[in-house]
Symmetry: C3
Subunit: 216 residues, 3 copies
């Protein structure tokens, strides 16, 4: 746990910043005020882990025991808020496109890190034998914050509609649970996170989509 | 418990199939892709039981300890998906009406079974004396999945708007809690489930509705 | 706890009535039927405390152990329902404005009481040292019911959009946690609740708003 924490901590912080940013951008587009921007930013960043902790009875949820994630998300949102408030033209400019591109990659990194950390939390809590449960814990840690963000913003969760965002998380989670049967090294964790990141970025770049029902 | 489980298991599976189908149909109407269809289908089928388990601290929720329900819901959704993808005309045809009629009856059976099983779970967890709590547990097991489905699909929960769907569940729950004061036989359970099913089907057939506030 | 309960109980009941009324009004505007009106009314009144109890593993949530709050909310909603059903013109008249003005003040009182009681519940559960957690518990007790109401009604939570509703709760929560370092008297509790009420009413009267991002 300690070992994982040490290696993954900076990656988690990167993911927290990217997730908080995605929450803040949704809030800005929804014309919410400062409070709404903070809430959506923070809930996107730590909401997935909170759902995971409630599901396994890890009380109080980790976001309250290690406030560093909430604090990081809070700072991220504040910086964005003052940037956009001072220079609102940034939101309509070409800068925002480059910004979203960088954030898209950081977001993928966050998804990878959160997924494997979610599984690790489940294993540490003694649920290593419940494969379906720990895969679920990994995926909910990865995508739960975005789902809460969209529900609170009154939109159909993004993850239900576009890209193979969730499939990236599920693939990595399955790989990690498979690797856990043989080893519990940091390499297994890293490899699985990399799979998530790769699928997520490729899906976003090539606009992969899952099949739907054609109009009749 | 074992006894109840044996008798009620096939009925639960029928309910799971019907609930999963209702979730999948909402997702199809919302033009969601395969992942969205699976998530809404599964959450409709097992979401109510998950909320119930969180409420009484039964951790991890039963859906993870007995994956048979998730698996059944998953299979149901997959079958529907491939049917509708292969023959999209089915969705617009007269077949869908007959299908919805059959599903409406299975859905009523599911509502009855889930309601009494929810109460039973509460009693087994030692809350037999908390009458209000166990009635709530029964009702949330019956209607919670549909509420989660609608919230995730970005709609006002169906149960808040139409028919006396929830009242059927509440009536049966109250009857079962009443009967529990005298006996804890399978007959009490069956009788209460039948009351739910009867009210639910009659309400749907005769389009019973609860009163609202007339326009001023 | 007992002492607090004695002093704060009537104030809690006032808050419960005001919150239930706000839930019922949203349901009436949404044209929901009797069941929808009851659910939104009750969930607005006790939903915040339920989220708080789930977060700290206080199982089953207090709303089930002390049904007096649910019962009060239920009665409030029933009275409103029959009033508006009997005399629907009330909803469109000048009476509704006076009614909403009175309810706005009772709502402020409820927000104050619920906020400090939420913190107290956290301290009683042994989390006095987790300052961020207990502030969160206070605020979620105060605003959680309204958030659930709006999510179920399919609207972006009111608290994310208007007034400094949440900031009032946060300010009082921070003051109370600060005062708790020195004393745990009823005066500290009362003072903090009064701060919430004052900010809430002033913000509503002077239409204070938090800054947002100007249109670019």
């Amino acid at each position: 746990m300690e070992l994982h924490a040490n290696i993954f901590f900076p990656i988690e912080i990167v993911g927290t910043i990217a997730f908080a940013s995605s929450g803040a951008m949704v809030a800005v587009r929804k014309k919410l005020d400062l409070f709404g921007i903070i809430v959506l930013g923070v809930i996107t960043a730590v909401g997935g882990g909170m759902l995971r902790d409630l599901m396994i009875g890890s009380i109080p949820p980790n976001m309250f025991r290690n406030p560093v994630y909430v604090f990081t998300a809070f700072l991220t949102v504040l910086v964005l808020f003052f940037l956009f408030r001072r220079w609102p033209f940034l939101l309509g400019s070409k800068y925002i496109e480059s910004y979203e591109k960088v954030m898209n990659i950081l977001d993928a990194i966050g998804l990878g890190a959160f997924t494997v950390i979610g599984i690790d939390t489940g294993v540490d809590a003694g649920y290593g034998e419940y494969h379906f449960l720990i895969i679920f814990l990994g995926v909910i840690t990865g995508i739960g914050g975005g789902i809460l963000r969209d529900i609170m913003a009154g939109e159909t969760p993004y993850v239900l509609k576009k890209h193979v965002y969730a499939c990236a998380s599920i693939s990595g989670a399955c790989l990690y649970v498979l690797l856990l049967q043989f080893t519990r090294s940091d390499y297994a964790m890293l490899l699985s996170a990399l799979l998530v990141i790769a699928i997520r970025i490729l899906a976003s770049h090539y606009r992969w989509n899952l099949p739907g029902i054609p109009d009749s």
